[in-house]
Symmetry: C3
Subunit: 645 residues, 3 copies
């Protein structure tokens, strides 16, 4: 595979005369892909049925003849104003019961059948028109499903669909009552038509009810997307892609990914530090202009799994953005670093958002590769540098890692439904494990919790997996890998109740959770010889050997053969110790990474990535601040260093 | 009286085959009471009019024949789903105007007459069926009135009822206008039908309007409860009980208590520290696994007053709960300590919540005395130890204390309506006085503000009493006790206006409040020789001698004979000094308690209660960490010490 | 001009027998003006059409014959309850879609035509009745427009009016679509009837949409007020006044002011520190009982501009108020200080709120000059002292200052719409510049951004001006003054888009903003030789000389001749350095003010104002804590010193 660069472009925002010049400059900068169309419905169909696609024909022609491959987006993320007039009840409804009005984007409920039909109609129109267009080399469905908290809707359409979903899942209402434990607090229903959505209840609703609603809501995204992919498949052989977001977990990306060829995601490292990460002030200050050293890598690995090996960055932050509470500028070198790190994790394409900064609309203060008045923005120079390095690298390949983390969207829904402790969060837990593996210099794969093929792995971690199917542990064992489970693994059934058998109930591992405590900040319990357990602590019993214990002697990590169980939310120090034990047991070669330095293997290439503003040293190798070194053994193949620019 | 133990049990949650074994184990553990039924309406009447009570007959039979006395709950806290279909407007409405939907509990408006009739109907059914049942030895009405902020409802039913309540109270609308001062801001009404509920106004509503609504809302709880007690009285001679909560003050518990035989409350010491107390982080950390040293005692004393001397703990936390932001486990000994402290304050029964942890529903992570899979949880061992000690103690009696605090629910409503300073709160103020008395080793009684019998007391404190009736001061005087009033005592009339006479207007006490200041945190004013005044400071004048003054010389405590007035919210140090002055004046024997050590007299028994994790010393007596010592003079009668367990 | 004192009085709150005595005492205290009537609609017209004005006739007669000049308020801020029955849809609607109910004040939507007619009707009634009354010497329209967030309403009335406003502004919908950039996210409308108000959208609405709505909302206030002024003008020659608030910027006060003779404002120095200023805890603690040293002065200068030179304080805080989170008492001397400071800034009248503290209603804990039971409150003595000093001073005059700040309400709306960084705020920015000028001892004028007459100024600052018209810079140049622009000046067009020309695009100043960063707290960038840039930082390029640079060498202040551009939000230290540079360049005589000492020139009088609790020294002159010294050269003319009182 030869990684390429792309860019997002909005021909409808610019005078037609400008297109050709823009396309030429893209090509000249080393860009080979261009995404268009995903917000342009009002230009494609300004009034119901009145199609105006000639401008799009011409735009594709101009871009294609310039040498660019086009990703064409279905425009369903922004239905025009007339659509809401036609389907007034298509708007999603928030948890407080307010319709979420027209005037920005994503203003639709996934469950509204009228809108789903409209989405099919416009998809069919563009698919038929451009499915065989030689320049259209890939398709994007919709845009950023779930962004702005749009997966969950409490509309009447959602209520009707949820009732049908439950009827299908449970068959009869007695089964549902039994499954949800509705005898508790007299919550039994006598008919599926009795079901309401679980918002605005007096105190918290039944977690089984919420979890069912979360699964239903995820399924609605899958169905909505599938309507489009089926139409596209019938009209094109080009790759189908969706652009996911960072840490949006409200729908099961693996399920959506089943219907697509490639996963892509929109990476905004500086913005993400503010609105979706648990970070100390000191950490935010240290990486203010670089982004967190592990957040991007985690998503690269996650979406590589979602894409079954194939993934892109569809939108790469190219400078300051507009939507975070604070929007600093990336340090020189960071745009190149983010791009090359993605390549190191196997990205096929890194596409910048956007070519030229918009002078109007909600994102007018979001940097592009060009300023609004057409000058080169700092990101463009870095993109060109990346293009050069990619040429230098030529063919690369991504190999399987030796260690994997199991990722499971429903676990996030479950633990959000009942966190039990305010600081417990599934993503946070999984990410803390991922970070520790990275600090040990390991390349990591993320694996779908529904997978049963773990061949090739030496160790597999499955922290916080809400429901544990014995077949998972067996599959890991059969692959010859060490299974590291817990904390909170297997704590509930699929219907959110406590398993009858006690838990975690791992075959051939005599460990039992007797009690759970959740702890406030600064009340972590010390682990003997270093580190502590924060937020979540299980009291473990059983005959399995104790591998790590608290200072008071109570076990925190127990293991028997290839099955280990961790009974708490380890802090960084404790995780580092656990990772070293795992490595020793599983035969993994670690290499401790100082500070914000990271590494990732890309075939036989070692990519060293320095998130620090200052130069870092690994052995004899120096890596510039905000710089990248790509080497084969001791031979440096390529380098990104803007520290003196 | 011989204190006993009880437990909450849900036969409807378990296979019938299990009941007998459970009952046997309860008895074996020293438990003699079992509460059932309060959430079981959907099992009693699965469809309108379709009664199914045979299972309940059998459950009572099994429990009773095992030797347990049954507390039977009316199930009105959880009306079934069909009830909402029948009475769609019975749901309470929150202050933002949203109906509070079915799907958890307490989903009804106290003012809805249709639901009140349904409540009477089901109460009559169970009362007639079990009123003479030999095993049903007590009744609980509904469950935790006011929990989840359910006293106040802004529904149409409440609006209609409020208008009628006002019409009855004021007679004609001109009287209401005059009483509320509606000339202010042109708020006059021309008819009771003009009245709206005081939510969603542009800026704050008239405090007189709010206070009237608060009194109305409290009365609605009283009326709702009385409908049940009248039916129960007609059918049984057993004790009638309600289980109140901690620091829920939205209705007047004394008024509800008038219709009942026994007050009970649900005590969750660890949970309460997080969601209903003003505590420093250091205090929360210190007592994280023990609970606050005074919060339980305060409620014991409050509910002893509400129960006119007779009170229970209906639900005692037995381990970690699920509903607080953080849910640590009690330290070993604490379940026993909490139980025995309740006994020291005169509890007739301490009943644990619940027998076996539920594997489903909202509280599945709430510990019981048994784990969900049927093993003994740590709480059970401590309960058994308590049972042994109770046997050891035999008959005990609660004597009147020498010092009392007047408690007044309407004052809480008044000061919540207009706190004037963000940190002023009635409960907080009263509790600060209570704590100081406890730190001085005093046993305290709490007295209904409507009481006029203070005989036997040497000192009576009435801080923050919104409206001061001269008869209260006279009654205290007649009893020969020192009356300590203020701050903010007598600051408003019953209709929330400033008294014409100036204030506090205490007969025979020449003290006048000229001005009030409220202060932000860390801006307290220093008291001469130690301590300070926080949050609330009155400028006092008058000829009464100054007993305590600020450093700038302005009086803060003034007193004439047996009438003292305190003009500020004292901090702990200042309160300790004030308590010492009171003790000296009133002839109270104090004993300074170190740290989290407390004591309470139970007849001639002295109960020493150690909320510290570490052992504490009082004179020559050592008390284990989380331990209890019960002694008569120097003779130790019983001890609870789990420190080496 | 001879400054006078006034007071706010509510005859409808008191027995008629009391009026005469009250009036006599006012006069005796040195008060010459009395404001009445603004909340009395329900007494003027208790039922629709049933006028009862005789009491008001008598009240005016009593006050007038006592020697007081009456300011009569139109009562439209508090429509009676029957009005809402008549016009149920006249209530404003909040951003969450809830009607803002009757029960306090300001319960009307500015766009409701039915209510606008009612407002005209009652205004006409009182104007005709009292327009020629010899005692009615001035009129107040309504009360505190915009208070309690009442400028913006999301009602149906507002929606209809907004559509009409847009139709008038843009002519056809294509023009609106083009102006707002509605091609972005397919937001185009096909008719003005498609327009919704910009609330409850899925993510942020188009900033152009919001800004248009903000301008519309401001215009609605202007129109509402104008309806009254036109009627009043037809019936009286007395001055027309409105009483504005502190830091309420939701409507353009300059526009409202065009229809009035005098601007007035309601000054509550202690309350304002809590709910509308960005202050450190230390600053709040230091000035807890004095108020911020610059907040009042800023508003004095602002409203002097709004009143085209003529302004009053209509409501002056006289003691503790009731509505702030914390309500301490002013230190002795502060009521006098606030009053005299207003005089120093040119106030014609300082009127206290209110004569006697109300014993009922929402403000019963708001101090007056009299206690509710009729004793003198501390404020009265200070007011009398002020009256003496005013007599002593006799005629005074306000001269133009040498330095001006341009103030622009639409800039506040723009930057609230898209702050880009959470800590950027227009008022905060302008105020930081104002403070720095004051710390340099300069008297400052504030100038309407629509003004083009800058003659007489040596320097004019225009920070944060959203849209920069070249004519403004030219006008400043023509006046021979130094223009100091930036940061964020000229950053958007009137329709909230980025100017095509790049920015700031100042003629004859080669400075270009290449990039904007916003910074979190504690991440400011150091300025070479002292100070730093916080919150907002622009990357500047161009050939203009660099006057101040960051430590990394990047320019932060650039200037060419009489045009300077500042590229960041300077902290206090940086602002002090910038002011010194400005003073040097423009020839301003500065005098550094220590701590909370301030000064203001009043003609040839220098007024020294000490906001510190402790005495301060300026050269050889000592000023008492909370004191004022008025001197001509070295000769002290008058002094306010309550430090020994």
């Amino acid at each position: 595979m030869k990684p390429e660069l792309g860019v997002c472009y909005y021909p409808e925002h610019w005078a037609e005369a400008q297109w050709k010049e823009d396309a030429a400059k893209m090509v000249q900068s080393g860009i080979t892909w261009v995404r268009i169309g995903e917000f342009a419905w009002s230009r494609m169909e300004p009034a119901p049925g009145q199609l105006e696609l000639e401008w799009l024909d011409r735009a594709i022609e101009v871009l294609g003849t310039a040498g660019l491959k086009v990703v064409l987006g279905t425009p369903t993320t922004t239905p025009p104003r007339w659509m809401i007039a036609k389907h007034p009840d298509m708007l999603a409804v928030d948890a407080e019961g307010n319709p979420r009005k027209f005037g920005s984007r994503r203003h639709y409920c996934f469950s509204h059948e009228g809108y789903r039909d409209e989405s099919a109609r416009i998809t069919k129109i563009v698919a038929q028109r451009y499915g065989q267009n030689p320049y259209v080399a890939a398709w994007q469905t919709d845009n950023e499903y779930g962004c702005h908290d749009t997966t969950l809707s409490y509309s009447d359409a959602a209520k009707v669909a949820f009732r049908a979903w439950c009827a299908k899942r449970y068959g009869d209402i007695a089964t549902l009552n039994e499954a949800w434990g509705n005898v508790f607090w007299s919550m039994a229903y006598s008919s599926f038509d009795d079901l309401e959505l679980p918002n605005l209840t007096v105190t918290e609703p039944n977690p089984a009810h919420v979890l069912a609603f979360r699964k239903f809501s995820s399924d609605q995204v899958v169905v909505f997307n599938r309507v489009q992919t089926e139409i596209l498949r019938a009209n094109t052989d080009a790759d189908l892609i969706h652009n996911y977001m960072g840490r949006i977990l409200d729908f099961d990306h693996f399920d959506v990914g089943e219907d697509l060829d490639v996963a892509s995601w929109d990476s905004y490292p500086l913005g993400f530090m503010w609105d979706r990460m648990e970070l100390s002030d000191a950490h935010r200050a240290r990486y203010l202009r670089q982004g967190d050293p592990d957040m991007q890598a985690f998503h690269h690995d996650l979406y590589r799994a979602v894409g079954k090996g194939r993934w892109w960055i569809m939108e790469q932050q190219p400078g300051p953005v507009n939507w975070a509470p604070y929007n600093p500028a990336p340090l020189p070198g960071m745009v190149a670093l983010w791009s090359l790190e993605a390549v190191a994790h196997g990205a096929e394409v890194v596409s910048y958002f956007r070519w030229r900064q918009a002078p109007f609309g909600q994102e007018q203060h979001h940097a592009g590769l060009q300023t609004p008045d057409g000058r080169d923005a700092p990101g463009l120079g870095e993109a060109s540098k990346v293009a050069q390095i990619l040429t230098q690298l030529g063919e690369v390949q991504t190999l399987q890692s030796e260690v994997a983390i199991v990722f499971d969207y429903p676990s996030d829904w479950a633990w959000n439904t009942q966190p039990q402790g305010a600081d417990f969060n599934y993503f946070r837990l999984v990410f803390s494990a991922y970070r520790a593996l990275r600090r040990a210099g390991l390349s990591v794969d993320i694996v779908n919790s529904k997978s049963r093929d773990f061949s090739g792995y030496k160790a597999v971690l499955a922290p916080g997996l809400a429901t544990l199917e014995p077949s998972l542990v067996e599959a890991i064992s059969q692959a010859g890998a060490l299974a590291v489970l817990g904390p909170r693994t297997g704590a509930i059934t699929e219907e959110f109740s406590i398993p009858q058998s006690g838990r975690p109930s791992v075959p051939h591992l005599d460990v039992m959770v007797d009690l759970v405590e959740t702890l406030p900040p600064n009340a972590g319990r010390a682990v003997k010889d270093g580190g502590k357990v924060d937020f979540w602590l299980e009291k473990l019993s059983g005959s399995a050997p104790v591998l790590l214990a608290l200072e008071d002697g109570s076990p925190v990590l127990m293991g028997q053969g290839d099955r280990w169980y961790l009974g708490g939310f380890a802090d960084d120090t404790a995780w580092d110790r656990i990772v070293m034990k795992i490595a020793l047991q599983a035969g993994l070669a670690t290499c401790v990474m100082p500070g914000g330095l990271r590494r990732r293997m890309l075939g036989d290439l070692e990519v060293l990535i320095n998130y620090e503003a200052e130069p870092m040293q690994l052995g004899e190798q120096q890596i510039a601040g905000c710089g990248i070194v790509i080497r084969r053994g001791d031979e440096v193949i390529a380098e990104s260093d803007f520290s003196t620019a």
